[in-house]
Amino acid sequence: MRPGAFPSRSRSARLTSQLGLALGATFAVCFLTGLLSHVIQHPPTWFRWPSRPVTLYPFTQGVHVATGLATVPLLGVKLWSVYPRLFTWPPFRSVTHAAERASVAVLVAAALFQVVSGILNVSRWYAPMPFYFPAGHYWVAWLVVGAMLVHIGVQLPAVRAALARTTTEADQDRLSRRNLLGTAGAAAALITLTTVGQTFRPLSGLAVLAPRLPDVGPQGVPVNTTAAGAAVVSLVTDPSYQLEVAGPGRRVSLDLAALNALPQHTAELPIACVEGWSASGLWTGIRLRDLVALVGADPERATVLVESLQAGGRYRATTVAPEHTRDPLTLVALRLGGEPLHLDHGYPARLIAPNRPGVLQTKWIGRITLLESR
């Protein structure tokens, strides 16, 4: 590259370092909240997830998506600030230099992968992604973290020098750098302002670019999988519908009249999607712990398998650990906002538990099985 090919005076090691620190923070937040969501959905044997506070998962997952979206301008400006280095000549000075450049390529590709696939996922556009999104987004997250640690290890002296207070900087360059940092921050704020209302209710009026609105959907609550999409319409509207509850010693079958005759409880609980939106609803139904007691098991210690009438699909069944089974807020809901559940909300009966991802709130329940006691 000839000198002056990249004429901007705004590029500097200081700008790059400051943006690098910001990106380190946003990627750390996304990684930790994403890892949490992953282990809640695929719990290792040592992992216990509490049922309270009710809004913890809506918060952590809302932060995950909002932070990921706000990363876009930071990553964009950071990559712009180092773009001339792509044309370093000679491209490789040594084996170490080649390895270091390869690790930067991995970091840039993996960081772009996470941001782009995340945006495609929240906008539910899966066609451009030739892989199963949750698995790809999960493993590439580890790739980002690894490549970032290598990058920090390599660049630490350069970052320290660039951020040292003694660094001299011409007034005009400082102004230009600060303008650009402010610009990246303002762009991130603008993205947050126009999207975060999908989970942060006070800003829902500004959520003009949010993939979801917390009060738009059947009975005022958004839906992810519809009854038609899950191919359960004829099964759940069949008058002979029965919910089967199977314990170690007893087994009961409850039709709609029997379910409605059991003690009903009402709870205000959010549906919190992994896609970062959440919406509160007033759910009425039977406490899961009451159903467990009905078949003679101890609700304080019971692990329960809740199965949908869906024939297939990744989320047709979910395991409810004792922490959630025993919680009086965990309901097999029959009503939303005082009316029988809409078909798309899981009519005739769905699971709704506090502090749990939406994909684990099984809809169109057909069977509840007691697995074990802990």
Partner: protein, 143 residues
């Protein structure tokens, strides 16, 4: 130096964990992940960034230097918002049977937000941005 070495080694081990995990995950087609990794990298380096530089060159050529910071800020903000909102505007992810997914008129909304950004950039710059005095903090001379 020891800390740097530890960071590099830990990073390489974690990257190895990622690769091993991706290769052994039955839900994942590693070829698809590699294709997408390469796609976003190449797409960024040879399409997006040259386009950004071209826009920057146009701004540097035609916008007076006094107005440049505001115009750059507006352009960067607009580009970031378009990047985030484009899949919503295109609407390929909108399911026919689920009106609660992607419920808003995103094309119109994005246009409104871009107009607001443009209007913000059109506001004349504050006087202090042109005067050098304001950047000197009290006591600067003493140091």
């Amino acid at each position: 130096m020891r800390a740097r070495g530890a960071l590099v080694v830990a990073g390489i081990l974690i990257m190895g964990y990622a690769a091993a995990g991706a290769l052994t995950d039955p839900d994942l087609a590693p070829a698809g992940v590699l294709l997408f990794l390469a796609g976003v990298l190449i797409g960024h380096d040879i399409i997006v960034m040259p386009a950004v530089l071209a826009v920057g060159a146009v701004i540097a050529r035609y916008v007076p230097s006094r107005r440049r910071p505001a115009v750059i800020a507006a352009t960067v903000s607009a580009a970031a918002l378009i990047f985030v909102a484009l899949p919503l505007v295109l609407g390929f992810g909108r399911p026919a049977d689920n009106p609660s997914a992607l419920p808003s008129p995103y094309g119109r909304n994005l246009a409104v937000v871009l107009l607001v950004i443009a209007a913000g950039a059109a506001v004349p710059p504050l006087r202090r941005a042109t005067g050098r005095k304001s950047f000197e903090r009290p006591g600067d001379e003493a140091r």
